[in-house]
């Protein structure tokens, strides 16, 4: 039985499987199932039943998201599928593994998703720096086209699909699905107001589904092996497997496909090889740069969306960043703030003008000039930039490491002010 549906074909020591080898390993089976008479409603039901949640960070149920797309005669005939491959979350490198390692899995998943919402055009919005992914995907798309899996009347279903590769000109905000749509339309990558949601008015004003690469890569397995198999993969409450990554000063940083529900300790010790010699774990961001710090005491919590939410953080992308005891937490948070301040699109006030102030203050801390007043301003900004106050989730994401950092590493912040220097620097 397949236990690693996402990475079963991936071996980074060799080039990815071409279409023949991919098919030989049960690839594109789902399309033949569709050709045998699965209609879009059936596929939607399967995806809903599978319990698949979006793997891009928010964890929103995929089937539910799809069900908001207006279908039927009175709905707009043109619909779009957009794959969010703009992987720019700090510390995250899971989608890259999938795209470079097994491009046909993504393409197969895209065909399934596009078929379900009857989108005849699908875009891959790819991070510009992912040049290898681009080459690998372009080649795979060509092969799929030649094989008749893309183009007109796919496998006699009457369904047409073209996949268009778009390499991003940059900016973190393009990962926000509505900013991504603006960028794809050639406009400034500013997020859009929600509602209306993209499912109703998305790319070029038409119903659009935006899904993360990993989410899409879950689909072939669900269709090929069934919902029961999918439900059997997990150890916890959420279904399926997930790519987990670890970066920071561990022995073997990397990215692995594991069932959901595994204790964090197991990921850190068995897969990442534990902390490097002489270093202790101080804390970690469980799902990329915009999640709250967790502490060593949380290591026995399982990798589940809800379990991690219970301790005030988020599983998000599932790629953790490790903070060790020889690295300055103030410096680490400051580094993230520099990133978020720089990546603000400049549309709404708190984010545009608040984050740079926060960033400036961290520069003062670094230079040994931090004051009590500065610390107070940082605390104020945690609520000021919080959820519901800004136009999109960028600034609230930034407050996650900021707010939790101020709380968990208070003594470090205080010491910076008291000593007027960073004690981690020699």
């Amino acid at each position: 039985m397949v236990t690693k549906p996402l990475t079963k074909n991936i071996d980074m020591s060799r080039p990815p499987l071409d279409i023949a080898a991919y098919e030989a390993n049960e690839g594109y089976r789902s399309l033949h199932a569709i050709a045998k008479g699965l209609n879009p409603e059936d596929v939607l039901q399967l995806v809903k039943d599978s319990g698949l949640k979006g793997r891009g960070g928010a964890g929103f149920p995929t089937g539910l998201k799809w069900s908001f797309v207006p279908m039927g005669e009175n709905s707009p005939t043109q619909k779009y599928l957009v794959v969010n491959a703009d992987e720019m979350e700090p510390g995250t490198f899971k989608d890259r593994l999938l795209m470079e390692g097994d491009p046909h899995l993504l393409i197969e998943g895209m065909i399934i998703a596009a078929y379900t919402i009857q989108a005849s055009k699908a875009y891959i919005f790819l991070r510009g720096e992912y040049t290898v992914s681009e080459q690998v995907l372009r080649k795979a798309i060509k092969q799929a086209k030649e094989k008749g899996y893309l183009g007109k009347n796919i496998l006699g279903t009457g369904f047409d699909l073209d996949i268009i590769m778009h390499t991003s000109a940059g900016r973190y905000i393009c990962g926000e699905e509505t900013a991504l749509l603006n960028a794809l339309e050639g406009k400034r990558a500013n997020p859009r107001a929600k509602p209306p949601f993209p499912q109703v008015s998305g790319l070029w004003g038409k119903p659009t589904i935006v899904n993360n690469v990993e989410t899409i890569c879950n689909l072939p397995g669900i269709l090929s092996y069934g919902v029961d198999w999918y439900h059997g993969l997990t150890n916890g409450n959420d279904h399926g497997t997930k790519l987990f990554g670890v970066s920071g000063k561990v022995k073997t940083p990397g990215c692995w496909e594991l069932p959901l529900g595994l204790p964090i300790r197991e990921l850190l010790e068995n897969y990442a090889g534990g902390m490097q010699d002489g270093l202790e774990l101080r804390g970690f961001l469980p799902g990329g740069g915009s999640t709250d710090f967790m502490l060593p005491e949380h290591l026995d919590i399982t990798l589940d969306y809800d379990e991690i939410a219970k301790v005030g953080s988020r599983l998000a992308t599932g790629t953790m960043i490790i903070l060790d005891d020889k690295t300055c937490p103030v410096g680490m948070v400051g580094n993230l703030m520099k990133f978020f301040a720089h990546e603000s699109c400049g549309f709404c006030t708190p984010c545009r003008d608040g984050l740079p102030w926060v960033d400036e203050i961290f520069r003062e801390f670094e230079g040994g000039r931090g004051t009590e007043k500065d610390l107070q301003v940082l605390h104020d900004h945690v609520t000021y930039l919080g959820p519901g106050r800004t136009f999109c989730a960028l600034a609230p994401g930034a407050t996650a490491p900021l707010g939790s950092g101020l709380k968990h590493f208070k003594e470090d912040f205080d010491r910076h002010v008291k000593d007027q220097r960073c004690s981690y620097k020699h």
């Binding site: 708190p350 102030w357 400036e360 106050r389």
Partner: protein, 911 residues
């Protein structure tokens, strides 16, 4: 209506609006920046945050942006909640981080929305002690100054300039706190509506450069409600005066006419009032020497002129009162039209159609509501610019329709635009050359005038067989014409636009189309907007007998049938051929001319009486739709100029004159309704033209006399030339400069509106003068076109420029900086066959007129578009066809540098 609770008080509101708009409509103070009453919500600034509660038991509530939340029934919010207040103060603190706090030297100071909102949001102590972000400023042309350091990034400028006004050369650049609002490189802002940036910008990033050159604080300006005299739309303005000179013009809200926006001709074309050339003394010329006239001498002279042998020529740029006073002086039979015969003929057609029950003449607001538009031959952007801005909104009705279908509120500005993308309501343009509205046009036909007329009749015929069709040279546009007919038929509110800039036949064709639609819809009048060139073209036309053409007047003078001539605010050399005018003036025994500036006509006058400019007298004008509007006097002319009607009628009070015009002149019965009623004023006190903060009263003339002079008395008007009096509370139409406690900027207008975007409280929007007959007139017959072009001849069409085609504004320095030479636009083929390249000087055969060649790709071969420049060519000199030939002497003063056209052929391509 919906019921919502704001801080414990229940209000009845419109659920189709957002909470911010409804809070403002209720008169509540809630600070905001990015929202604009005309541009909807985008949620950028986060300044209008309020607490919203799920129900009465919800004590915590959550922060929402009022501008992004619908005012649906049962909504419970709090503006005063501590959490909301503290968030708003944090937002303003953020916004002010890099603001330079240069209020004392900033033109916006004292009418700055940012100042007001900062105060209102409770930010008074600066915590930010890091480095500010600074920017470089750009040169943006003669109208607008740029000071980016003051920017708070509300995004209003680009939303207005690009999305609302269709500009393409202002954008937001860079990101995070480095966002920059400017052009891709320095240069003149191209949009004809760029001046509105001054009012749209909540602070001093975009300021009025013309005003800055002789700056005064808002509170130091003497201001009165006025009407723009730049074209026939009659936008409402608030000119400001100090020390006897007119300093600036800003928009004055009128819900039916200009709303919140003016065009750049209207805003920046007032400087002629301050011109050193102004005629300021009454003079008589005797043997070439000018003598100053005394009041007694003038009275005697006027008496001499009031005989049957005097001809009076009226003026489309003078008020109803002045035209009427002249008519009274010389008698109805001797009062003649002050426009070209061709224009007067078509004006007659327009006035006749105004009474026809088949048509409705739409206001600017109504034009915005059209869901299918056909422009027949008129270059709206250059003739009635404010209407072009309205047409840009009309094409968005499709977007609003789509939004309704998708249940997206119309005020969700960005969302509606993203939904609709390029889907627009149909706007078809049939014109002799591409126009500045083509970017939003759905169908476009470029052809010669005779063909355009034929196409118009064909459209009418396609709508209804009752309208006779016309034969055109080609059938290549048949499908397009059928499509246009279909679009107009399908529309809920179709609109046809034509005008008399190129003769009356296009008007007749337009009328046939509207009539055919009316026949099919069997509805109330179809919107037919007929444009005329000048501020009071219609008023003058209504006062003059249809037979009294200018040509007839000149003939009478030449024949010796009349001996004396009074010319009212008019340069006859712009209205008839120089030969005709010369011959007539030569014969006249005595010529009296009233005007503001010297012209070729004043040069020939025996007596010149200086007339006051629009800001120096009270006047009524009738705009293109027949709307009479009252323009108050802003300040007294400190020299000897008087209103023309006052020279002609020394004794009568202005109100009595208006009343008499009302009683005696046909079609003017409702004119007196524009006058404010006496009983609207508190204890008989006047409405002050000066603000309660007006400064320097005791000192401003101390260099002449240290004693404070007696305040000037105005017994002509209900306004006073001082700070004394009671600002009009009940009748907001006498609201010149809008101000309310805590609201010093023009945004205070919401305090005077019934509701946001509604009428001014208890005011009126002008009085519609035309009485409709109950009957529908007959269709016009298409013209029989017997003329065909000889070899090398070109079909002539007149072209116009917003900066240059209006006589008075063209004499203002800022406008001159945007003007071009007279030019003749021809196609690349016609240029090639005549061996002409871009910018060549050509002679128009049979005349001694030289013009620059402007080779345009968007013009049909065989057509010449002639722009006459500021008085350099006389349109009356040309007939239906012209020939051009290369002129050996090449000359150009202004060149084509300022011409903003999308179809100008590149110079390297043409050579």
């Amino acid at each position: 209506m919906a019921k919502i609770v704001i801080d414990g008080v229940t209000y009845e509101v419109n659920p189709n609006n957002n909470l911010l708009q409804e809070c403002l409509s209720q008169g509540l103070d809630l600070p905001y920046f990015c929202w604009h009453p005309c541009m909807g919500s985008v949620g950028a600034c986060r300044q209008c945050a309020v607490k919203q509660y799920r129900d009465e038991d919800d004590k915590d509530g959550m922060l929402v942006m009022a501008c992004m939340t619908p005012a649906s029934d049962g909504t419970i919010i709090s503006i005063e909640d501590e959490g909301a207040k503290s968030f708003r103060s944090e937002v303003i603190e953020s916004l002010m981080i890099s603001h330079p706090h240069d209020c004392p030297v900033c033109e916006e100071g004292g009418e700055c929305h940012l100042q007001d909102m900062t105060q209102m949001s409770g930010h008074n102590y600066r915590r930010y002690d890091k480095k500010k972000v600074t920017h470089r400023n750009q040169y943006l042309g003669p109208f607008i100054s740029h000071e980016m350091n003051r920017c708070i990034a509300c995004y209003r400028c680009v939303r207005y300039y690009d999305n609302y006004a269709g500009g393409t050369d202002l954008s937001v650049q860079a990101s995070h706190h480095h966002v920059y609002f400017g052009r891709h490189e320095e240069g003149t802002l191209e949009s004809e509506f760029s001046g509105n940036l001054v009012e749209v910008c909540p602070t001093g990033v975009f300021t009025d450069k013309v005003f800055s050159e002789h700056y005064s604080r808002k509170w130091d300006l003497q201001t009165a409600p006025s009407v723009c005299v730049g074209c026939s739309v009659g936008c409402n303005t608030a000119p400001g005066e100090r020390y006897g000179s007119l300093r600036r013009i800003v928009n004055r809200y009128n819900s039916e006419v200009n709303g919140y926006f003016l065009c750049d001709r209207g805003r920046f074309g007032f400087d002629f009032v301050n011109s050193e050339e102004r005629l300021l003394e009454p003079i008589q010329r005797k043997q070439g020497k000018a003598e100053l006239l005394t009041a007694a001498q003038i009275e005697v002279s006027i008496q001499q002129f009031s005989s049957a042998e005097t001809i009076g020529i009226g003026s489309p740029r003078a008020s109803n009162e002045s035209n009427f006073a002249l008519r009274c002086l010389v008698g109805d039979d001797n009062f003649y039209a002050g426009c070209s015969d061709a224009e007067y003929e078509s004006l007659g057609v327009i006035l006749a159609l105004a009474a026809d029950a088949a048509f409705h003449s739409p206001s600017v607001r109504e034009i915005e509501q059209a869901d299918a538009v056909l422009i027949l031959g008129e270059d709206v952007t250059n003739i009635a610019p404010r209407i072009a801005l309205a047409l840009r909104q009309s094409v968005r009705n499709k977007a609003k329709e789509l939004a309704d279908e998708n249940r997206i509120p119309q005020w969700q500005d960005a969302a509606v635009r993203e939904l609709a993308q390029h889907e627009r309501s149909p706007l078809s343009i049939l014109s002799p050359a591409v126009s500045r509205l083509d970017d939003v046009a759905s169908e476009r036909i470029i052809d010669s005038l005779p063909n355009l007329i034929a196409f118009g009749h064909q459209i009418a015929n396609k709508i209804s067989d009752s309208a006779a069709t016309a034969v055109s040279a080609s059938s290549e546009h048949d499908d397009t014409l059928a499509l246009i007919a279909q679009q107009l038929l399908r529309a809920k509110r179709p609109l046809i636009i034509a005008g008399n800039s190129n003769g009356g036949e296009l008007i007749k064709a337009a009328a046939n189309i509207a009539k055919a639609l009316q026949e099919k819809n069997d509805d109330a009048g179809i919107d037919l907007c007929l444009l005329v060139p000048e501020v009071n073209s219609l008023g003058m036309g209504m006062l003059v007998d249809p037979a009294n053409k200018l040509g007839a007047a000149l003939a009478r003078l030449q024949d010796g049938d009349a001996k004396r001539l009074i010319v009212l605010e008019n340069d006859l050399y712009r209205r008839a051929t120089a030969t005709e005018v010369d011959a007539a003036l030569e014969k006249a025994e005595q010529i009296l001319v009233l005007d503001q500036l010297p012209t070729r006509t004043t040069a020939k006058a025996d007596i010149v009486l200086p007339a006051t400019a629009f800001s120096e007298h009270e006047a009524t004008y009738i705009n293109y739709e027949g709307r009479a509007q009252l323009s108050f006097q802003v300040n007294k002319c400190q020299k000897m100029a008087k209103p023309s009607w006052r020279w002609l009628n020394a004794a009568e009070h202005i109100d009595d004159l208006v009343q008499r015009c009302c009683n005696e002149a046909k079609g003017f019965t409702k004119l007196s309704e524009v006058l404010p009623a006496d009983n609207q004023f508190v204890a008989g006190m006047k409405v002050p033209r000066q603000s309660h903060r007006y400064s320097g009263r005791t000192a401003m003339i101390a260099n002449i006399n240290v004693h404070e002079p007696k305040q000037m008395v105005d017994d002509e008007s209900i306004m006073s030339f001082s700070m004394e009096g009671v600002p009009s509370q009940k009748d907001s139409t006498i609201l010149a400069s809008s101000w309310a406690p805590k609201w010093n900027s023009n945004q205070s207008i919401s305090k005077f509106q019934d509701e946001v975007n509604g009428e001014l409280k208890q005011g009126h929007t002008g009085i519609l003068m035309f009485e409709k007959s109950t009957s529908v007139g007959a269709y016009f017959e298409p013209p029989v076109n017997s003329l065909t072009a000889a070899e090398k001849q070109l079909h002539l069409a007149f072209g116009f420029q917003i900066f240059g085609s209006d006589e008075l504004s063209a004499r203002c320095k800022p406008i001159q900086a945007r003007m071009t030479d007279a030019y003749v636009g021809i196609s690349p083929e016609d240029a090639q066959s005549r061996n002409l390249v871009q910018g060549d000087t050509v002679t128009i055969s049979g005349t001694d007129s030289n013009v620059t060649v402007c080779i345009r790709t968007g013009i049909k071969t065989g057509t010449a578009l002639l722009y006459c420049g500021e008085g350099s060519l006389n349109p009356a000199e040309f007939s239906e066809f012209i020939e051009i030939e290369k002129c050996e002497k090449q000359s150009a003063s202004l060149g084509m540098r300022n011409l903003i056209l999308s179809d100008l052929q590149d110079e390297d391509k043409s050579s």
